[in-house]
Amino acid sequence: MGDNKKDQLQGTLDLLVLRILSSAEAMHGFAIAERIEQVSKDVLRVEAGSLYPALHRMTEAGWVKSSWGVSENNRRARFYTITAAGRKRLADEEAHWSALTSAVGRVLKNA
């Protein structure tokens, strides 16, 4: 199970979401999407259709937890926070990602 491209794409989104959540208080889905766009200078766009399934999957996996609250403009919204398991997962993913990018970098530079 798991080692295929689709999982890798999903894994990348997971990594971004966990990273954003790790450095913030509770955030709702829209804020997470905006934050990713903002930090990546509009290079990475996260769509609702992939963000929410990812959030729900990670909730099921226990990496994030959610609760309903009130947003900055007084609307009912679901807020996500990272869990201890999520932080561990983030560390694993970050290590894997760095290993992967540096490997790719070496190939691009030296091949």
């Binding site: 295929n4 491209k5 689709k6 889905g29 829209f30 769509e47 609702a48 259709g49 929410y52 609307r75």
Partner: protein, 890 residues
Amino acid sequence: MPALSRFVNLFRRRSVDRELDDELTFHVEMLTDKYMRQGLSRDEAVRAARRHAGNTLVAKEEMREVHIMLWIDSLARDLAYGARMFLRQPGTSLLAVLMLSLGIGANTVIYSLLHAALLRPLPFPSPDRLVAVVDNFVTQNQFDAWPSVPETLDVRAASRTLDPVSFFDTRDVQINGGTEPVRAISARIDGDFLRTLAVQPALGRTFNGDDHQPGRDRIVILSDAFWRRNFGADPNVIDRTIIVNGAPHKVVGVLPPGVNFDYFTPEPIELYVPYPMTPDYTSRLAAFASVRRVFAIARIRDTATIEQADAELRTIGQRLKSEHPQLYRRGSDGQDLGFTMSAAPLRRIVLGRGARTAVLLLFAAVGLVLLIACANTAQFLMARAIERRPEVVIRAALGAGTGRLLRQFLTEAFLFAAVATALGVLQASALVGVLRGLIGSPSPLLGQLGLNVSVILFTVIVTVLVTVIAGLFPALHLARQRVVAGDGSRLTGTTRSRTRHAMIAAQVAASVVLLVGALLVATGLRQLQDTPTGYDADGVTVMRLRAAGRPDPRGTGGGYQQYLQALSSVPGLSHIAIADGPLQGFAGTEFSIVGRADDAATLSLQRAGWAIVSPDYFKVLGIPLRAGRTFTDSDSVDAPQAVIINDVMARRFWPDQNPIGQQIKSGMGPRLRVATIVGVVGDVRPTHRLEVPPQIYTSYLQQSEPNATLLVKTAAGQSAPIDAIKQAIRTVVPEQAIFDIRPLTAVIAQSTNTPRLMTRLLGSFAILAVALALLGVYTVVSYVTARRTKEIALRRAIGATPNDVLRLLGVPTLGWTAGGIAIGVVAAAWLMRLVPSAANSFGLPEESLRLDPPTIVAAMTLYVIVVCFAVLAPAARALRVQPASILRAE
């Protein structure tokens, strides 16, 4: 408050849906705000936000789709998932697949029948250029009749669209010189016959014009089978001699294997002899001119079409009618018979209209079964998907692409259909053999019945069709729910179960149509078998012979009289008779009553069966004498002409009079004569009619007919001493062949072969359809019940009785099912309008195909009871579970 949280949990799944909706709504609202801050108007912003969310969803889906690797990966995953799902409940899955496979198997078998009967090209070069030249008598409602020889010769002389034009007829002959005389079927062919079929002999030559003239050598062409069997495939067979009907015939040719024209004979044609072109046959003045008819076959010229040929034949027919008006009129007032000639596609004539209707009807029936099976599979897949995969609903609600969902369902449906097809083809290969046996027809058309390439191709198409229907429906259904949810409305249980209920209503309605149709045919057959026949067939054995020996100018009677005398010394036979056929056929002979009107209108009401019998015929069959006397051997060729009539005829035409001593004029062609009624006997019902028509019997000594049936009656439980019978007859004529030796009961059973076959087939389809529909009902109710288990538990916890629960679960389904039954009955009643034309193709008399209301009511009541079980069984199972255990499980 634990009680409250349990209550909340009961509706957890629905609240998940709602929360997802809320979350997405929030997202879209936030996007809208953002766009408005960027300066768009509110409406524009709302639209942009929606479009953005929607477009990106689609774009994301498409991005995934273009990755072939991903596609294969997800296909493999879908397949694996389908297989896992299949194996999770192996019992139910197997049942569903088996039911579908029965539907596919039945379709394969019936398609093979359709292919053999209607589609497979006839085994001659350019078979679509071959037509039959036929006579129609519109006023008599008689179509596709064989023409007379003079008519055929006139067509040959006049036609510019047809070339060649040819004809043939067949007859029994006997082959002598072996250990015992045997019967063979010979075709008397005209010189152009083989050229018309575009067939060359494998050995020797065809006939030429000279061969047909009187006084020539007797010559014969052999079929391949006859040559192999009797001459060991000897290549030097040409010019050897065989004894046919006691006379030596010289072999001049042998046909190649596979060439035959056996569409009208009970056994293959083995000998071909030249048609005798003498005035007896070719002249309109000959006694048999309008009675003796031939099968006329022609090839359309390359420059013409069948429509042109047909138009030309109509013109020729009109001309013949004006040149020989007396041949195409009848009655003292000269009523026009409405004579026309036409060119009919050869297949239609060799198959017959009735068989064509029957085959198409069976195909329609079996197609209906397949649709029901498809609906079932769709129901089944959908129930599985929804029960087993809340994530499908979530993904649909979240906006996973319709394409992705569709593919998932199609894959699962395909897995299902492929397994069912494999099983179905296995069943079909076994059933085709059974069907061939049941048809029992030696016709070269149906002899080709089997699973060939085009049948398998058809089955593959069926599989694709099943996949698409069974997979598309659940996928589109879920996709629609997604749209509904996207609009912000709620997903509710009712829309879903309404569609599913409508589907089972349709399934039930279709199965009812089939059931009513099958009942109709079955009751018709039953009526036919249960109606008294008027004779006793037990202990009667029949056998056929064709008069051999030297022709007697005084007719065949004298020879037959000698046979009967010889047989009277055979021990064990209580009665012996000879007749022109074992039983009476249809009322096809017109008669007139001497001293009464004989205009066309009167004659059209005066049709009777007409038979040639020896005196003891009535004793053999146990037909009672009502008045006067039966024949004696004094009713000979020199004595005054005598006839015997049946009760029906006596009562209908002489209601207040004694018919004995009255005179009637009857008989066709040279048999036409005035005769005195000497007796009245009991009614005998023809095997394929419910009503008894008028019947005329003539004395075997006063008529001449070379084709005869011998009837012998033995004591109860005794079988006929066949060898002694043959020996006795051969003391009179040593070369006499005797064939088709069968108990009369077997002859009668064979006459209901077609309706029995139709009853069996339609009955099996109806049972299959009903079983499928019931399975559909059961699947839906089980599914609905399973989804509401917690609700039921809760309702019972707060005091609902089992009855309340059963009502809640069962009533909607029962309502829909009852609606389906009602629609089915109405549709069947509407389809009944087709009965008159269909009756013929079932081999049943029209009057026997009446819907018997008590039968229908009984069948539908039974149906409703079985449906109640299908509905209540899953509901009752839900009741057996303790409410507390379900509530606690949450």
